[in-house]
Every structure is written in structure tokens, then in C-alpha cells.
């Protein structure tokens, strides 16, 4: 069905752990980490392989820490 496959790179050290991106993801691909970054924030990470590269998480991230990739398959 899916004709695209996506992935994201999160700049973990700049993530402030606000969680605004989590609900924005339609495929529930992302979640907050158990670990914390250098500033003490839990950071967002990819937990499933369901990313479609829709860019939703990246455009709502106030700190602009997400880069999104997409390929046609």
C-alpha cells in the first residue's frame, strides 16, 4: 500500500523534550526516550519503522531539531 518510506534524524542535544511532536505523528513512529540529553531533557526518538516522511513532527517542533527524509518505493 505505502508507496513511500520515510525516516527522521533528531538533533538530540537540541531537543527540549516538549513532546509537542508526539501527537503530530500520524503513524505513532516517535516517542520520548528514557534517557536524557546533556541538558537533562528526555528527547524524542524513532521507535517504530512506520515513518512515511510526512514532516508533521518537524514542522511543529518549536526548536526545529528534526530533519525528514522520504523515498518512493
Amino acid at each position: 500500500m505505502a508507496k513511500v518510506k520515510g525516516d527522521i534524524i533528531v538533533d538530540i542535544e537540541r531537543c527540549k523534550g516538549c513532546e509537542v511532536c508526539i501527537d503530530a505523528c500520524p503513524t505513532h513512529t516517535i516517542a520520548m526516550s528514557e534517557d536524557v540529553n546533556g541538558k537533562g531533557y528526555h528527547y524524542m526518538q524513532n521507535v517504530h519503522d512506520a515513518c512515511t516522511g510526512c514532516t508533521n513532527c518537524a514542522i511543529v517542533c518549536p526548536d526545529g531539531v528534526i530533519t525528514v527524509y522520504r523515498v518512493k518505493i
Binding site: 525516516d7 516538549c18 518549536p62 527524509y69
Partner: protein, 262 residues
């Protein structure tokens, strides 16, 4: 075929569909986690980037949490005294009419100490764009009540909630300035969901396009959160904004092509 696709096949420069615009500097934003200021900054810079106007735009930073906007926006910027951004923008635009000129202001800046500058710049029909981030509070100084604070809303100077009898009514300054003949496009948007971000960006793009056509003052309000001032988590603050701010400050266009639509 899908099975053979590895992470390395996807994570390649040619497959990038979204990355932070180069018009945002690499400095870590001074905003609290989840604050709408960051998203709003980025949308303005994405629009300037798409217009190819990095070298041709002058922004005016306010006093408030976004006082350091000039550290984050990689364009020419000028800092204004509290509330005076529209006056400064007026001077800059009149001296350099070929530049795109915008102010970026909070509600304390624009609708309290700067009310006079805002209204007169709008009424004169200055050919500038105003980006107005309304979080209903003075964020930077510790969450004091602003003219935009909702009835009943708690702040550090209205700890029992804003009492209309003694503290007056919230000021819908965006509706007010839409009624002035000098304004051409007035809209209210938000940046808490992907759909809202896309709409807000279109509105900001439209405002700058109209400025290029010398149509008069264009005004984009972003209803935003102040999770520190409101004392909520970012996600809860966004929900509180939807439940409480949007009924009082409804989203959508207020004036289009010089005509009131609401």
C-alpha cells in the same frame, strides 16, 4: 523491494523533504520547551527564504521573550524600545521602501505599552507586516496579566483570575485594527498542530506578498502558549489554548483584500 531498503538508503541528502531553514541561525533558542515563539520564528524565516529575500528584509525585534529574535533570524534586524517596533518599522520602510519590513511582537509589547504605535501605524496604512504573538500574558517578566489576559485567567498579578469589574476587559486588538482603513490583510492563526502550522505559514506568505504589492499594513496574529507563565506542561498548555484562548480569539481571516470578512 521495500524490505531491502535500509536506513542508509533513506538518510541521504537528496531525500531530505524537511530541514530547518538556513535563515534560522544555529544558536539554541532561548525559549522554554514547547513555546510557540520558536515555531513562529521559523515560519517567518521559511517565508523570507522562499521569497529569496534574506538580503532584502529588515526585521524589528521587540521587548519580551522574543527580544533576542535577532540572534535567531539570520537577516538584518533592529531592536526597538518596548512597544515601539511599528514606529521604527515605519521609519525604516519609508527610508528604504524596497525592503521587506516586519515587526515581531508579543501582546505585552504590541497591545499594552505599544498600543499607540500599533494603532497609528495601522491607521496610517504603513506598508509593513506585523507578526503578533499573543500568549495572553507577559511571559518574559514572570507571567503578569496583560491586556489580552482572558476573563478569569490566572496570572502572577491576577492570582484569583482576571476580574472584569476591577481589571477591565481583554483587548481584542486584532479586531480593532482590522477596522482601520489602513490595514489590508488581518488574520489570526496558531502553530500548535501541523495543519495550523501550514495555514499560518500561508498567511505569513500572503502578508509579505501583499507588502511587496504596497497594499498597506498586513497583520498576522499567532495565538500562542506560554507554558511557563501558565504553569502547565507544553502539551497541556496547547490544550488549554484550544479550550480557552480560541473561543475568545477565534482563528481565521478577519480582513481580506481590505474588506472585513468577520
Amino acid at each position: 523491494m521495500a524490505e531491502t531498503l535500509t536506513k542508509q538508503d533513506i538518510i541521504k541528502d537528496e531525500n531530505i523533504v524537511y530541514k530547518k531553514t538556513g535563515l534560522m541561525t544555529d544558536k539554541v533558542l532561548s525559549y522554554c520547551p514547547g513555546c510557540g515563539h520558536g515555531t513562529t520564528h521559523r515560519l517567518v524565516m521559511e517565508v523570507i527564504d522562499e521569497l529569496g529575500a534574506q538580503a532584502n528584509t529588515i526585521g524589528i525585534a521587540p521587548v519580551g521573550c522574543s527580544v533576542l529574535a535577532y540572534e535567531f533570524m539570520d537577516i538584518d534586524m533592529q531592536e526597538a524600545a518596548h512597544g515601539r517596533a511599528p514606529a521604527l518599522a515605519t521609519a525604516i520602510k519609508r527610508l528604504m521602501p524596497d525592503k521587506l519590513v516586519f515587526t515581531y511582537q508579543g501582546d505585552g509589547d504590541l497591545a499594552a505599552i505599544g498600543t499607540g504605535e500599533t494603532i497609528h501605524a495601522a491607521n496610517r496604512g504603513e506598508n509593513i507586516t506585523i507578526i503578533f504573538v499573543n500568549n495572553g500574558i507577559y511571559g518574559m517578566t514572570g507571567g503578569q496579566m496583560a491586556p489580552t489576559t482572558l476573563p478569569g485567567m490566572k496570572s502572577s498579578t491576577s492570582p484569583y483570575g482576571r476580574d472584569i469589574k476591577t481589571m477591565g476587559y481583554p483587548l481584542k486588538i486584532t479586531e480593532l485594527i482590522a477596522r482601520l482603513p489602513g490595514t489590508y490583510f488581518v488574520t489570526r492563526q496558531a502553530v500548535h498542530t501541523p495543519a495550523n502550522v501550514r495555514k499560518a505559514k500561508k498567511a505569513i506568505r500572503k502578508a509579505f506578498d501583499l507588502q511587496k504589492q504596497n497594499k498597506g499594513l498586513t497583520f498576522v496574529e499567532i495565538v500562542s502558549n506560554c507554558n511557563s507563565g501558565w504553569k502547565m506542561t507544553p502539551v497541556k498548555a496547547n490544550q488549554w489554548m484550544v479550550d480557552n484562548m480560541f473561543p475568545f480569539y477565534p482563528l481565521g481571516d478577519i480582513k481580506v483584500d481590505g474588506e472585513l470578512v468577520k
